[in-house]
């Protein structure tokens, strides 16, 4: 395997508390994604390619919240990271078995092809050991491509607002999808958020009120802006739906940042996992 050689691979970690929820969510958001392993974090990354419709995702977990043992060795001392590409569904399927696990171990191996080997020792009544091993094929991403996989910089938002219950949003957007391919998401600093679709025959708007706005980073900017004024972005409705479908559980914190006519940025926190999802304006 030509790409294999420079990377030194044993990265072995044991999951202390297993959360297949994260991998399920990722599997719904991106068919293929990049897993970045660094000494203190794990990231699931989807970079903004044309193939994704310009959508990008950055999901982050602090390793100490999940692993009782974590060892890794990256490419070199200065670049102590590993970037792998894998099919998300494989990981979520593999971790599903971990729900009844006594111990879980994830290792990078090279059995016939490079893989992420997930070894799960199942709980059993007797002393017997039952082990399930999943070899997830991966592709190691060469260092020269790492620059495209960095955390997206978030420009100052025109409006930041807390999101309503995501399940409610999802059922509304699902119905709207039958009418139009595009949706306008708009919000203001008065805690109001609207989802609008417009066609030749009909316009449908759903209004959410009293959502609250997070404190602004710069006081000047927020005071200058008229609280009633809406910032809006017109996006592909399917991308929004895909994002909402991935949220099985209501997050601890959910903020929506709108850069007028440019991009909508969802910033969620699910207990120990942070997820950022960017949907660009439809051009």
């Amino acid at each position: 395997m030509p790409h294999w050689a420079p990377v030194n691979l044993p990265a072995a970690f044991l999951l202390h508390s297993i959360t297949p929820g994260v991998s399920n969510m990722i599997a719904k958001l991106a068919k293929t994604c990049t897993l970045r392993i660094s000494p203190d974090k794990l990231n699931f990354i989807l970079s903004d390619k044309v193939a994704n419709g310009g959508v990008s995702m950055w999901c982050e977990l602090e390793q100490e919240n999940f692993f009782s043992e974590f060892q890794m060795e990256g490419v070199s001392a200065e670049n102590n990271e590993i970037y792998l590409e894998l099919t998300s569904e494989n990981l979520s399927r593999a971790l599903k078995t971990a729900q009844n696990a006594r111990a879980l171990k994830i290792k990078l191996t090279n059995k016939h092809f490079p893989c992420l080997t997930v070894s799960i020792e199942l709980l059993s009544v007797s002393n017997s050991s039952r082990v399930v091993t999943h070899d997830i094929p991966i592709r190691v991403i060469p260092r020269k491509l790492w620059k495209d996989l960095q955390e997206p910089t978030v420009p100052d938002a025109d409006v930041s607002i807390y999101l309503p219950v995501l399940k409610t949003m999802k059922s509304i957007v699902e119905k709207m999808k039958n009418i139009s391919n595009h949706l306008i998401i708009e919000a203001n600093l008065n805690g109001e958020l609207n989802l609008k679709i417009e066609t030749e025959l009909v316009c449908v708007t759903t209004h959410f009120k009293d959502l609250g706005n997070p404190p602004s980073a710069s006081e000047d900017a927020s005071q200058a802006r008229n609280p009633e004024q809406m910032a809006e972005v017109r996006i592909d409705i399917r991308r929004l739906l895909q994002f909402l479908a991935g949220q099985q559980v209501n997050p601890t914190k959910a903020v929506c940042n709108i850069m007028s006519n440019k991009i909508v940025h969802f910033d969620l926190l699910h207990e120990d996992v942070s997820l950022q999802y960017f949907i660009p304006a439809f051009s």
Partner: protein, 399 residues
């Protein structure tokens, strides 16, 4: 034939039919002295399943109307399954199920007696053939392969069921074998295709020998068979908490023909046998696949409507014939000693996985299952004695 199933057994019967429906499209119903047998074979003749419900399973069991011959029939699986389609409904509302076979008007009648006095004529099925029970050698006299016997403890049957859960829905085959340390391995089977750009995930479950009531096998032996059919029987075994035993042979020195594997589930009231063809090569240790068997022989495709040629019993006779030919093979067997303790090492994961040398992919195996044991080698001397009188013409299906 007339029989009455009551209480929880109706659901058991329903589950058995669901299991059988995973295999074949036609169901052979035959009332025998030792119970009601339900059998099916798949279209490629590579899988056969049979359930025998003992007379005690029924509240009433009458194999034949006194003074008349016992009748057996063949019906569309779909029709019979429709009666038991919703197992939840069956469990909740059905109190009794009455099945009767009427030779005079060639009907198989299934009546469901539900709660609150509701009676549902669940099906007036028109069998495609109704015949008297011909005196043939019994299906259950098939030879049992003996070189490998696995009998997992009941708890493990459901573990096996869970083990196949993560296998992708598109996966066709699995490999079952004995790995190092006498651990039983169940692994998703991947066809070796050199030009495959997107590799598939490989899932393997490894179970220690302490989880088997009986484990008689040699390390390294393995068979590969169809997952869908295996799933069908696992679901049934799990739900009914029955004991499962798995028997298979490995190709011997003198004859490289693969032998089918037999999965048997049993309790005092019923007996189930699933016979699945195995692929002509299986090796747990390396992906290198040996082409041992000669090219697949073309087998005759009997007319499905003609019961006489399509007689399930003749297929079983063919199996016995095969057994005679290969009878003198050396059969490896190592008995399981109950006192064996697993090694004290921290875990069964082998730490040298990442240092395994790369293995050159071998030639791809023949994809098809051998279906030799059904039909193609039926020697003339063993064919059933002439076509039996047909009591009912085949029909297009349920009326």
């Amino acid at each position: 034939m007339k029989c009455l199933v009551t209480g929880g057994n109706v659901k058991v019967l329903g589950k058995a039919v669901h299991s059988l429906s995973r295999i074949g499209d036609e169901l052979y119903l035959e009332p025998l002295e030792d119970g009601l047998s339900l059998r099916t074979v798949n279209s490629s003749r590579s899988a056969y399943a049979c359930f025998l419900f003992a007379p005690l399973f029924f509240q009433q069991y009458q194999a034949a109307t006194p003074g008349q011959e016992a009748l057996r029939c063949k019906i569309l699986m779909k029709s019979f399954l429709a009666v038991f389609r919703s197992l939840a409904m069956v469990e909740k509302t059905v109190e009794r199920c009455c099945i009767s076979l009427n030779g005079r008007n060639s009907r198989l009648v299934v009546q469901l007696h539900c709660r609150y006095g509701v009676r549902v004529p669940a099906g007036r099925l028109r069998p495609s053939l109704v015949l008297p029970c011909a005196p043939c050698p019994r299906a259950k006299q098939m030879p049992t392969p003996v070189s490998v016997v696995l009998r997992p403890i009941p708890d493990v049957v459901s573990v096996l069921g869970e083990a196949v859960q993560p296998f992708p829905p598109t996966l066709a085959e699995v490999t079952l074998g004995i790995g190092s340390g006498r651990r039983v391995i169940l692994r998703s089977y991947q066809e070796e295709e050199a030009d495959r750009t997107v590799k598939a995930m490989v899932t393997e479950m490894s179970i220690g020998e302490e989880d088997f009531q009986q484990l008689q096998a040699q390390e390294g032996v393995a068979i590969t068979f169809c997952l869908k059919e295996f799933r069908g029987l696992l679901t049934f075994a799990e739900s009914a908490n029955l004991s499962l035993s798995i028997h298979f042979d490995v190709p011997g020195r003198t004859c490289h023909l693969p032998r089918p594997a037999i999965f048997a589930i049993k309790d005092s009231l019923l007996d189930g046998h699933f016979v699945l063809a195995t692929m002509s090569e299986s090796d747990l240790r390396s992906p290198e696949l040996h082409r041992l068997a000669p090219p697949l022989q073309a087998h005759s495709t009997p007319h499905l409507d003609d019961f006489a040629n399509d007689d399930i019993d003749s297929y079983m006779i063919a199996m016995e014939t095969t057994a005679d030919i290969e009878g003198s093979r050396a059969v490896p067997s190592v008995s399981f000693s109950p006192g064996h303790q697993p090694p004290a090492s921290p875990g069964p994961y082998s730490e040298d996985n990442d240092t395994e040398p790369s293995i050159e992919p071998g030639t791809p195996p023949p994809k098809k299952f051998r279906s030799l044991f059904f039909g193609s080698i039926l020697a003339p001397a063993h064919s059933p004695p002439g076509p039996s009188p047909v009591l009912a013409e085949d029909s297009e299906g349920e009326g």
